[in-house]
């Protein structure tokens, strides 16, 4: 009996996952996020109007073809202000995620991989970071560093360190106890090679999902800090700040709702992508 004959008698392999299919809502979400990122990279391409100097004759114009989001109390085009505010609202959230990912990820990785005293020490440190409510911590840090959007981003990032550290630690522990990791050690792999070839790639999926989720949360946190006035001062146009200053003109509700809807749609899209990543694991 030849061996090829043997294999044919086995049950056929389970069909590979049906052709990679992305749900339509996820496609829309990716489009929204791509658009918003484009706004933050090249705002001038999307809005030709001046976000800083208004036209005195065009105060409080409601949304129209000329001014999609209307105009404010100085006659500035609200759409231009939203688009030009994207950079600090969204890119700063990326900075925050990056800080959380790098610092927290390193903590979690060391903690999970070395265990023992390293783990205990880092665990207490992470406990401390968790103990201070994250928004309060962000407020304290931003008030220590000074009221600027970049500092708000740093503060948001630091307050996310603990979450990243915890998730990466548990993922590393999970991967480390996996049979295939032990198998790799038996096959002659050193600890470092196992860490980089098996443990990290297997942990990276849930970390990616968390990073996307934290991106959405960071947009909200930074908007909240801006709302309280802890970001760049006017004429900067962070979304949170726009909403906050729009409150003073109840007769021009679009000044609140335009940036609000943009914020919500952006975060909703980011969250949708994150959920999709979690499901396709």
């Amino acid at each position: 009996m030849t061996l090829t004959a043997v294999t044919t008698t086995e049950a056929p392999a389970p069909p590979t996952r049906p052709v990679w299919r992305v749900p339509p809502t996820v496609v829309v979400s990716f489009v929204v996020v791509a658009l918003v990122l484009a706004w933050s990279i090249a705002p001038g391409v999307f809005s030709h109007q001046n976000p800083v100097d208004g036209i005195p004759s065009e105060l409080f114009r409601p949304p129209s073809g000329a001014h999609w989001f209307g105009t404010d109390h100085l006659g500035r085009d609200e759409f231009a202000r939203v688009v030009h505010g994207t950079a600090s609202s969204v890119s700063s959230a990326l900075v925050a995620v990056l800080i959380g990912l790098v610092v927290g990820g390193l903590f979690g990785l060391l903690s999970g991989f070395f265990g023992g005293l390293v783990d205990t020490t880092l665990a207490r440190f992470v406990d401390v970071l968790l103990a201070i409510p994250s928004f309060l911590m962000a407020v304290v840090i931003v008030s220590a560093l000074g009221f600027q959007t970049i500092n708000a981003a740093v503060a948001t990032g630091v307050s996310a360190v603990a979450v990243f550290a915890r998730v990466l630690r548990s993922e590393v522990l999970k991967a480390r106890s996996a049979v295939f990791v032990e198998a790799s050690l038996l096959l002659g792999g050193s600890r470092a090679s196992v860490l980089f070839r098996h443990v990290l790639p297997n942990a990276s999926r849930s970390v990616l999902q968390l990073a996307v989720l934290q991106f959405g949360l960071s947009i909200l946190t930074i908007a909240s800090l801006a709302f309280l006035g802890y970001g760049d001062p006017p004429p900067a146009s962070d979304w949170g700040l726009l909403i906050s200053s729009g409150r003073e003109y109840p007769l021009a509700p679009w000044l609140v709702w335009a940036p609000a809807v943009v914020t919500i749609v952006t975060v909703l899209s980011v969250n949708r992508i994150s959920r999709w990543l979690r499901k396709t694991d």
Partner: protein, 539 residues
């Protein structure tokens, strides 16, 4: 109410044996457009037993779920199912619900997960007692305790107050059988009721089921992958493959003279029924000097002595089997052998090299000679890696040959274990269980080791796939002069492929000898119990 009363006051059960209790015609079950049961007919008389036999994917469990109308969402059953003259599939859900438990009882596969972990067993047992309409509320507890005693639970009061995790698997399965028979159903559906249990416990549970069936006159639909168990416990058999009945009839007929190809193959592949199938292939190789020597090894974890004064030696080119039930220490023994654990005392030598007291780095050189194949190929392969990279990994780690030579070796080894060229760029998730285990074996063999330690390498696989893997292993042994240490709970399998055997229990070696000595003239009581527990197919 006295037990005798309830015993006799059963449900509307036809007294005549003319009309069968359960009659299924043209049953089809589909998920979306995919049919997993494709027109199955079956018949089960009152007080009789029928076994559905099949491997994974045969649709046997789906039939059980369809009868209970507990198919997962998306599953649709069609055809005719009649129980005691009532068409089941057409009944509205609220009417059918009254039949669950009362008329159709269910015994699940894995007793460890079949009870709610955060509720006491008593609280869940009272749910079963509620189904007995004539049982008044204050009497329910007594009825439960009485049933627990009936299914052989020694301390019913304690069981009643326990949480599931406080009981052993065998006890839990007794509880579940008790809950299923307490409302005196007409039909009991048992879905692989013993596959999660040790062999000695398996026999006792099957005895209990037979006993209850005869004592209470309950019909039994037994679902199993094990032809030997089915033949031993059922009046008639139905062999399923890919959702289609291959063969059906009285046990004696089907078992003695299977008419379909598949049933014949199944019969040939069950180790218990064919102890000498591989004898010729097994005895091709020649035994050499001892390759592995284990002398008086002891290993404790806290107060538990997992391995207690164990010694054995394996001549080169032969297979030594470690046999035992769960908790016997066989897994710890091979972890010691692979250097994954260090023994507290004793000596382990592989190919003349002492294992004890080595660092991770110096163990590496020993491991080139000794490789481990894990039990579960679903967890032992990195899900992100492709077959080629998986098999190549050890060559890369040990820096063997040039990259081109490594490619060559990988291909050679994959062919040797019977994996085709077209699979090399697949990930494990796109392979069947048998293919995955072949990848694992190839990965272990690519370093050209002298010794393979095989930790229940086929227990996660179907019996026909197991037969293929066993044949491959024996052929490789004959060709390459490999030495195997084979760990298994399956005595029949061990009998087919091993040369020498150590029977283990609670960390100690109970008995040791050649296959013939152990199986034909066991000296120890425990070995005899194990052998007696084996289902052998003859009823």
């Amino acid at each position: 109410m006295a037990p005798q009363d309830r015993l006799t006051s059963t449900l509307e059960r036809p007294e005549s044996t003319v009309a069968p209790l359960l009659q299924v015609e043209g049953l089809r079950v589909a998920y979306g457009g995919h049919e997993v049961v494709r027109g199955v007919d079956l018949e089960l008389g009152a007080g009789r037993s029928l076994a559905l036999i099949g491997e994974s994917g045969s649709g046997k469990s789906t039939i059980a779920k369809a009868l209970l109308r507990l198919l997962p969402t998306g599953g649709k059953a069609s055809g005719r199912v009649e129980l005691a003259g009532r068409a089941l599939l057409e009944l509205p859900e609220r009417h059918f619900r009254r039949l669950r438990g009362r008329t159709i009882g269910f015994v699940p596969q894995d007793p460890g997960n079949a009870l709610n972990p955060v509720r006491t067993i008593g609280a869940q047992a009272l749910e079963a007692a509620e189904l007995v309409d004539e049982l008044a509320k204050p009497d329910r507890r007594a009825a439960v305790l009485e049933t627990f005693a009936q299914v052989g639970l020694a301390d019913p009061e304690r069981v009643f107050l326990s949480y599931p995790h406080q009981l052993s698997g065998g006890m839990l399965q007794r509880v579940l059988i008790g809950l299923a028979v307490l409302p005196r159903p007409a039909l009991l559906v048992a879905d692989e009721p013993t596959s999660a249990l040790d062999v000695t416990i398996q026999k006792r549970i099957l005895d209990l089921l037979s006993e209850l069936r005869e004592g209470l006159g309950i019909s039994l639909l037994l679902i199993t992958h094990d032809l030997a168990i089915a033949a031993e416990r059922a009046d008639s058999l139905l062999v399923l493959k890919d959702g289609v009945a291959q063969e059906t009839g009285p046990t004696a007929e089907v078992f003695a003279a299977p008419s379909s190809d598949y049933a014949r193959r199944l019969h040939a592949d069950v180790p218990a029924l064919n102890p000498d199938r591989y004898a010729q292939l097994r005895d091709l190789g020649r035994a050499g000097a001892p390759k592995i020597e284990v002398v008086a090894v002891t290993k404790s974890f806290g107060s538990l002595t997992a391995v207690d004064d164990v010694s054995f030696s394996v001549p080169a080119g032969t297979t030594h089997a470690l046999v035992g039930e769960s908790g016997s220490g066989k897994t710890t023994a091979i972890r010691l052998l692979s250097g994954l654990e260090q023994p507290d005392s004793g000596r382990i030598a592989v190919a003349g090299e002492e294992l004890r007291g080595r660092s991770h780095a110096s163990l590496r050189s020993v491991r080139r000679h000794l490789q481990l194949v894990y039990q579960n190929p679903f967890t032992s392969l990195d899900p992100l890696w492709k077959v080629e990279r998986l098999v190549r990994e050890p060559l890369d780690r040990y820096r063997i040959g040039s990259p081109r030579e490594r490619d060559e070796l990988v291909r050679e080894t994959l062919t040797a274990v019977g994996l085709g060229e077209h699979l090399v760029s697949r990930r494990p998730s796109a392979l069947s269980g048998g293919q995955r285990q072949r990848v694992a074996i190839a990965r272990a063999l690519v370093l050209r080791p002298d010794v393979l330690v095989l930790d229940e390498p086929t227990s996660a696989l179907d019996v026909t796939v197991q037969a293929d893997i066993v044949e491959t292993l024996l052929r490789l042994q004959a060709e390459q002069g490999l030495t195997y240490v084979f760990v298994s709970h399956d005595l029949s399998l061990v009998r087919q492929l091993a040369h020498t055997v150590s029977v283990m229990r609670r960390g100690r070696v109970v008995e040791q000898g050649t296959v013939a000595q152990i199986f034909d003239s066991p000296q120890e009581e425990y070995t005899r119990t194990l052998l007696d527990s084996l289902p052998v197919g003859a009823s």
